[in-house]
Symmetry: C2
Subunit: 336 residues, 2 copies
């Protein structure tokens, strides 16, 4: 490791953060090209289907330079997808050294390091690895844990109630909170609800025009749902027969395995309380997004009715607090 490697990789991390959520499901990557201890060029991933970070950086540098170092937050890809493989642009006549934060966990994209070494380029990996993973929690979770990155989304009164006794929840949170929720949907590959949420609310589960619509996933173990409900217009995936209705907590793993096979990288679980509780009790989630609205409901449906106790450490780190009119949104990250 050279003395300025961390410094330049930190610049590359800042570059990565400039990428918009629209790069999903691609990771946000940053690249920095250094020559004679000076930054020559930078780049970050463009929207999905657009240019990758390394390509942006290489295209922005003078073409005659030699002996450069490339700092990139993820191993350059080796496959032609929507764009050409990045690795083909990283040639030994320009680069003598490539510094990489993390290897690519995606089996069809990895192998870049091997190719670089074969070409005689010096390769260093693992610089700022942890910080680089934080930027792409969804991407790394999907490939490393072989399941989607799971966001549990809850809209609650101040006393932890998500609906009245009869199921009515229109509306606990304010318009601004709901819009924030619709935006969050548009950044996820799929949205999941349990049967009762469909029956009580008959929601559309779209992003209400604020971006792409997530794929709809419904849990209906006993196949009870009336297929005239709104969501059935959007060709949802319904989990029924493969589920074990006697041990519902085990269904979480069954469903996640299937969603991984379908390449669903991020899952937004919108409830209700029963579905959320299964995920919490199974410890299978990565992020908790709770909206609290200044209301109280004495008798109602709880946001959680599972088995956790006071002594159980949920391993949650406070990540963000946002305000929407008089509501607040709290985001916790799990195992951070």
């Amino acid at each position: 490791m050279y003395k300025n490697d961390v410094k330049y990789m930190s610049v590359a991390l800042d570059e990565a953060l400039k990428a918009f959520p629209e790069v999903y499901p691609n990771p946000k990557v940053g690249a920095v090209i250094v020559h004679d201890d000076k930054i020559i060029s930078c780049g970050h991933t463009q929207d999905f289907g657009g240019k990758h970070a390394e390509v942006m950086a290489i295209e922005n540098m003078p073409s005659t330079l030699k002996g450069c170092t490339l700092y990139v937050t993820l191993e350059p890809c080796t496959h032609k997808g929507k764009t050409d493989a990045c690795i083909d642009l990283i040639t030994p006549n320009i680069f003598k050294r490539v510094v990489i934060a993390n290897l690519d966990p995606n089996p069809i994209a990895k192998g870049g390091v091997k190719k670089l070494i074969k070409d005689g380029i010096i390769v260093e990996t693992g610089i700022c690895s942890k910080n680089a993973k934080k930027i792409n929690r969804r991407f790394f979770t999907f490939f490393e844990k072989k399941r989607p990155y799971i966001i549990l989304k809850i809209a609650s009164t101040l006393n932890g109630v998500i609906a009245e006794k009869d199921g009515n929840s229109e509306w606990i949170t304010c318009q601004e909170s709901r819009t924030s929720g619709h935006k969050a949907r548009s950044c996820c590959d799929a949205i999941m609800v349990g049967r009762k949420t469909i029956e009580f609310d008959n929601p559309s589960l779209t992003s209400h025009g604020l971006g792409k619509n997530p794929r709809i996933i419904i849990i209906d173990p006993k196949n009870k749902l009336d297929h005239k409900a709104n969501v059935f217009k959007s060709d949802p995936i319904v989990f029924s027969d493969i589920l074990n209705s006697k041990k519902p907590i085990e269904n979480v793993s069954i469903i996640l395995k299937k969603l991984y096979d379908l390449s669903i990288q991020s899952l937004y679980v919108e409830g209700g309380g029963q579905t959320i509780s299964y995920f919490i009790d199974a410890n299978l989630y990565d992020e908790l997004q709770i909206y609290y609205s200044p209301k109280m409901i004495g008798e109602g449906k709880p946001l959680y009715n599972g088995m956790k106790k006071l002594k159980d450490n949920l391993n949650l780190t406070l990540n963000k607090i946002e305000q929407f009119d008089n509501d607040i949104k709290v985001t916790y990250l799990k195992g951070y």
Copy 2:
């Protein structure tokens, strides 16, 4: 009203905000003295028993000036308490005009305006009145509503649970949150809990050395408490016989009337859930301070189990969000 009255009163309001919480139970007051359209001197209330705002401002001005205007956020007092009456310093040989945000609602302090007019000074009242009241919500609530200013304090899991089924709540919130709660106690005249909180937690209810200890108030309608509990070392006020055990919600008013008679200006209600619910259902509170800790308890005691429904507007305005380690504290003001 002169064209710069609001401008100078706004400076006086900023002065008032400089007063520390230690002025309680006195109101935070700010004063500004203007001569020839220039600010000559400012002052704000000193700690309880110290000088009042007008005195500070008058002592800081050159003694030879004449024809000044005094801007003060509260009617100058007429009574000798821990300090001399302010009104005696506001003489016509210095002041030609006094502009006041609000009249003093305290019956033993009011009457200042009358005296000023009698002395031939021009008096204007009601400038920035609403903003001035916000600074002294406790003081105005006490005199205008003839009851203490009521803060409901709750320490909860993310799902609205304040203790396990058996009453154990050690500890839901983190050390930093609990310290914040102890500081809040020290700024209130009294702290209130119900019988069950004493039985489950056997708390001391002191400010743990972070300021003055509030007077302890206990609700024990059926006189069941064992007087060996820790709180009995601090000479608490116990409400028992005067309460109506059949209509507990009516007890809130009975208790508040008594606390007003005892000149308790601010009341910090620490629970448990039953006590908090009575106050919420009676709509008798001014501020809600909820600490949420990143825990979930499936079966436990709820922070609220009253009669409010989704349609009920609690009339709460989000005032402040604070972070304590991974806990958050949310403060709502009622009827703001």
